[in-house]
């Protein structure tokens, strides 16, 4: 089945935030952001802006009727700066004008009087100065300190990864208006309607029941609108509430780029111990997370880095420590993978360095250390239903790893100006919010008297196809045609206290709630049919809208049944609640069972480097992925391809550049480059690994949102291998993204880097 939204999308009829028809008297808002990254806010000069054409009002922190606070995990983030500014672009004032252009023009007339304070952009500097968002955390397994003695090889090094701009094509925005009874309704482009509601209520000093958030769909989210949509929703609501007028705030791209947080850059130290036969025996890793100026979701992202520090490998002795470091960048936030990719990049770098020092291909080390059932993750969860080995073996055989490597070596021997590299990237990703309480969802299902069905959940459609999946679940459970089912806008008055659409778990959680509600309705209708038609309840079912008794058509169908149930005063509405079973985590011990299940897969990646120019192509990605029992293969394949390419982008061309003053230099699409049509691999093979799936997954189809992003890491190592095919003597620093600049600089680096312990036998 295709994505059911697709027809509206291709006709340009799907409605996004800025497409909502504006109400009479709507004011347009523009944000004045701090021009400095850190300082004391001594005052604001607003006179000139107030006199500018069309300007109605300028709001500052003083105008907030409730609490000036939008911090989620830690209350450390004001909505509008007060006293201090902590990052460039931090919202300081909101201009309301009759047109958007007038509001923007007036923003340029505002001046802030700021006494500068020292700016920190490097997480290690922040950590050294004690600037931590939350206390550091350490996950332990076994005892690395004693294990080093048993190691034949010990590898030490450093890995750095850059951040990543979400670049949802629809920028952040909100449209708010006052409602009857002193409340406010906000159309918000958010993955977390409840977060916008909670913080808006706090800012306005209202009960949450007076703040309604409505979301039809997003033009992309990727984590960037999980927590960071709150600022814009709350600002629009504040203005609407204070001025009693409709207010629209849609960020121009440049504001969105410089004012919002991104994937976290990390700087990390690793120490890896191996036995003589390449078994990983011990791993110590320290992560310095660049959290930016406020907590946002950083503590949760940090936690997931620790959960995925060993990727898909079993290492008996582990000590992983992570610091969330406060710097003067915009607060960094969720992004597909949520800290997992950063953790995996470090272990993969450590393995790559070990391989280079020992003169073996990295995949020889990877293959020998894959997880298997019965082992234990460093966080205490037992490995079960593990497909690490199966996905590896399937990929290795299907894509003929050994033959492929031979071809690459032959190519390199024959070509002077182009070199190829091959890398294998296996993944393991845990599915669930790691904050156990968030693994709950509700669904409200109405059957209308004509047999059509309306469903409300907490899920937000942002392209991942969750609405189509829920329609499938409802149609299958009720035995009806999917075109009878509509998924309503996500609205906090219909489904309350929702978790954000995140953690790859949206379809599982909300889908399960839909399934429960529809099962109850089906049972109710069957009981009604049994009464009406004097049939045996056992053996009654609906299939293709026909009621069957013991497999034979009964004298009623869906429409008749629904209608007759209404006239017999049977409730046609159901509200169901789902909570993922068996989850727990004890933070004092850092042990528990945080994940409903894990997703596995293995990708083979080939890249070709032009050694004259330092440019490269990622030629092919061929992967085997553990989908479980996919019931929307088209959508799920799309998630794999899209996630993969986002991961490739993060590892190659997507380079966020902040200067020492904390100013974003890659502040436009002309300087921040995401993959275009020509930069994706010519070959992307996605093989479905048929596995039983998992009972905690919706219809046994495993979650598919985040895991594929991490296949992209393979591109980094493939390019690096190609560079080393030209310069075996050079061992480039582990620093992502591997831009053409880094490639060319490595290709023509001065000779005589520290000599490896063993000269590599091959150049791969």
């Amino acid at each position: 089945m295709h994505n059911l939204d697709a027809a509206g999308h291709v006709r340009g009829e799907s409605q996004y935030l800025d497409d909502i028809p504006t109400q009479r008297g709507t004011l347009h808002a523009a944000v004045f952001g701090s021009p400095l990254a850190h300082g004391v806010l001594d005052g604001l000069s607003l006179q000139a802006a107030r006199r500018a054409p069309g300007v109605v009002r300028i709001l500052t922190a003083e105008d907030i009727p409730g609490e000036n606070q939008i911090g989620g995990i830690v209350p450390d983030e004001p909505l509008l700066a007060e006293g201090h500014v902590h990052f460039q672009g931090q919202p300081v004032a909101l201009v309301l004008a009759e047109t958007e252009a007038q509001a923007r023009a007036a923003v340029k007339l505002i001046e802030a009087d700021i006494t500068p304070l020292p700016v920190i952009t490097d997480p290690r500097v922040a950590q050294a100065q004690g600037e931590l968002i939350v206390p550091p955390r350490t996950f332990r397994l076994g005892d690395p300190a004693t294990a080093w003695a048993d190691c034949a090889h010990i590898i030490e090094g450093t890995a750095e990864n850059g951040g990543q701009e979400h670049l949802y094509i629809e920028t952040q925005g909100a449209y708010a208006y006052p409602t009857d009874g002193g409340g406010v309704r906000v159309h918000s482009s958010t993955q977390g309607p409840t977060a916008v509601q909670r913080h808006t209520a706090r800012v306005l000093g209202l009960g949450m029941h007076k703040v309604e958030i409505d979301v039809v769909r997003l033009g992309g989210g990727f984590g960037g609108k999980e927590d960071q949509a709150t600022t814009w929703g709350a600002l629009a609501a504040l203005a609407a509430h204070v001025l009693k007028k409709p207010v629209k705030l849609v960020l121009p791209r440049h504001d969105d780029l410089r004012m919002t947080g991104k994937r976290h850059p990390y700087s990390s130290d690793f120490k890896l111990g191996l036995s003589a036969d390449l078994k990983l025996l011990a791993y110590e890793v320290t992560f310095y997370q660049n959290a930016g100026a406020a907590a946002d979701l950083s503590p949760a992202v940090l936690e997931r880095t620790l959960f995925h520090a060993c990727n898909t490998y079993f290492i008996p002795n582990v000590r992983a420590t992570a610091y969330s470091c406060r710097t003067n960048l915009p607060p960094n936030t969720a992004f597909r993978g949520f800290g997992g990719p950063q953790g995996m990049f470090v272990i993969e770098s450590a393995i790559a360095q070990a391989a280079e020092q020992l003169g073996v291909p990295a995949y020889e080390i990877q293959r020998r250390n894959l997880l298997a059932d019965g082992q234990v993750f460093p966080y205490g969860q037992r490995v079960a239903d593990c497909n690490a080995g199966l996905s590896w073996q399937t990929a290795e055989q299907k894509f003929e790893l050994a033959g492929w490597q031979t071809e690459v070596d032959a190519f390199n021997a024959q070509n002077a100006t182009k070199k190829r590299g091959l890398a294998v990237m296996p993944i393991c990703f845990g599915i669930s919010f790691t904050k156990t309480a968030m693994n709950q969802a509700r669904a409200l299902v109405h059957i209308y008297t004509d047999g059509s069905v309306g469903i409300s959940t907490g899920a937000v459609e942002m392209g991942q196809g969750v609405n189509t999946k829920m329609i499938q679940v409802a149609a299958r459970t009720l035995g009806i045609n999917p075109n009878r089912v509509r998924i309503e806008a996500t609205n906090t008055t219909r489904v309350a206290n929702t978790s954000p659409s995140a953690a790859s778990a949206t379809a599982d959680l909300n889908g399960k709630a839909v399934e429960l509600a529809c099962r109850e309705l089906r049972a109710r209708l069957m009981r009604h049919a049994a009464d009406e038609l004097k049939l045996e309840y056992e053996g009654l079912e609906i299939r293709d809208e026909q009621v069957l008794a013991a497999g034979k058509p009964a004298e009623t169908d869906w429409e008749k049944l629904v209608s007759s149930a209404y006239w017999k005063r049977v409730s046609l509405t159901e509200n169901a609640h789902y909570a993922t079973p068996d989850l727990w985590f004890d933070q004092t011990e850092e042990k528990g069972h945080p994940f409903a299940y894990h997703v596995y897969g293995t990708a083979l990646v080939q890249a070709t480097v032009d050694v004259v120019r330092g440019t490269y192509d990622v030629d092919a990605v061929r992967l085997v992925h553990d989908f479980g029992q996919s019931f929307t293969p088209g959508i799920d394949r799309g998630q794999i391809e899209g996630g993969l390419v986002q991961g490739l982008g993060w590892m190659t061309m997507e380079e966020l550049i902040y200067n020492e003053q904390g100013r974003l230099l890659s502040n436009a699409l002309s300087t921040y480059k995401v993959p275009d049509l020509y930069s994706v691999p010519a070959v992307v093979d996605v093989e479905f690994l048929e596995t039983p799936g998992h009972p905690n997954a919706i219809l046994r189809a495993k979650a598919v949102g985040e895991p594929p992003l991490m296949y992209g890491l393979g591109a980094y190592f493939a390019i690096r291998n190609a560079v080393r095919a030209f310069r075996p003597d050079v061992r480039p620093a582990f620093s992502a993204p591997i831009t053409p600049e880094k490639v060319l600089t490595s290709l023509y680096a001065p000779a005589a880097v520290p000599a490896p312990r063993h000269e590599p036998a091959t150049t791969s």
Binding site: A7, G12, D18, T171, R637, E655, L669, S670, Y678, E741
Partner: protein, 493 residues
Amino acid sequence: MLQFYLNDQLVRPAHPAGSTLLDYIRYQQHLTGTKIGCREGDCGACTVLVGELRPDAEGQPVVRYQSMTSCLTPLGNAHGRHIVTVEGLSQAAGQLTPVQQAIVAEGGTQCGFCTPGFVMSMTGHCLHGAATPEAARASIDGNICRCTGYKSLERATDRLTAELLTRDAAPKRLPWLVQQGYVPAYFERMAARLAELRRETVADVAARTGGHLPDANDPAVTPPLTYLLGGGTDLLVQRADDVLAAEVQLLYGHAERCFIREQADGRISLGAATTVEDLRSSELLLGRFPRLRQHLKLVSSTPIRNMATVAGNFVNASPIGDLTIFFLALDARLTLQNAAGEQRQLPLRELYRGYKQLNRQPDEQLVEISFLPPAEGEVFNFEKVSKRTHLDIASVNAAARLRVHDAVIQEAHLSAGGVGPTPLYLRRTSEWLSGQPLTPETLRAAGELAQQEISPISDARGTAEYKRLLLRQLLYAHFLEHFPQQLTLAELL
């Protein structure tokens, strides 16, 4: 008066000619299928088709459609044309065009926000593009999708390619496209409608400025800030708010400024408003520059190439203007014309005084460019490296015109961008190379000499050290590309 067809409707907006077509479409006409993604031509979410009356091969007037980003299209550039948005393609409810069907069938839309832009680009391709997979993909090279990873969109274009083979077998293209539902039936009436519009509005230049041109002879009138707008692809990125408020004079599409022709003396001359796409599709130029398509593929994207003019690229004075670098190596000569209509000639190599500073009087317009194409025995090469190979601005770009005979470099002309405050002609290196043997030693020495002519700075496109290294490599690349038998990379190291 400014007037054009917007889908099936004649419109006469009273809005400033320098305001954007995008804002008019979305906020005046509430046609919300055209999306705002970046407002700088880098994402393609606002792509529309712009149809213009042109004679076909038999001289019959037909409407030629090109994809353009409406965020950078001055409203005035729509004058007399047919603007098509996604709403203008839509068939009856429940029906999809073959382009829309292909995207749906292949899963080529996820969040959907970029999708109408893809639909417009692909539809433009179906109207005029060659039925090859490469041409179909090229049509969406200016559209960024953050969700799908493009593979599904590639599959959609492949599906279209198969269908377009049937189009090419049909006796008449447009009726076939209408019959197959690619475009609605009103498209068949557009040639006559635009011809009528042209009769009504010919020579109506003042209308196209969105007001009246200031009287240059009246000293009492202080002329307001006036912008001369070409394709708008740089000015509307840099200063859209200023242009909106200013008088604008429009250059785009003026027939007397759009030409490519060979002169009697063998030089080729170009009108100032010649677009990059005009260059790319010129049989004359393709004959003289066999690798032209390959080189121009590195310049922005299809919709931007449809809009951007050669003169705009020169006058914009970016140190990394691709066409500027291209034509510096060719020693192009410019014709400037002042308000009184007086003309003078200036070599492109003398146009730049400093960063964004031109040797040009305020009232002088660039009207024509001419150059001598590479002769028999000469080679021309263009190189560009950027963070992303396509639709990106160069870290360093470079061009070379070379004449090598009997293993001796008879003549060399090298230019380079991104390595100084202006686009550079590497005069000393070029002069020194002339007469040297084509050997690794010569090129290494040239690489070192070039380092003395450049002064790159560190910025978002790379560190100064990187740009120096890259320039050397691109200089080597010119020779490795054209003389692979005489040189190897290993010898140059």
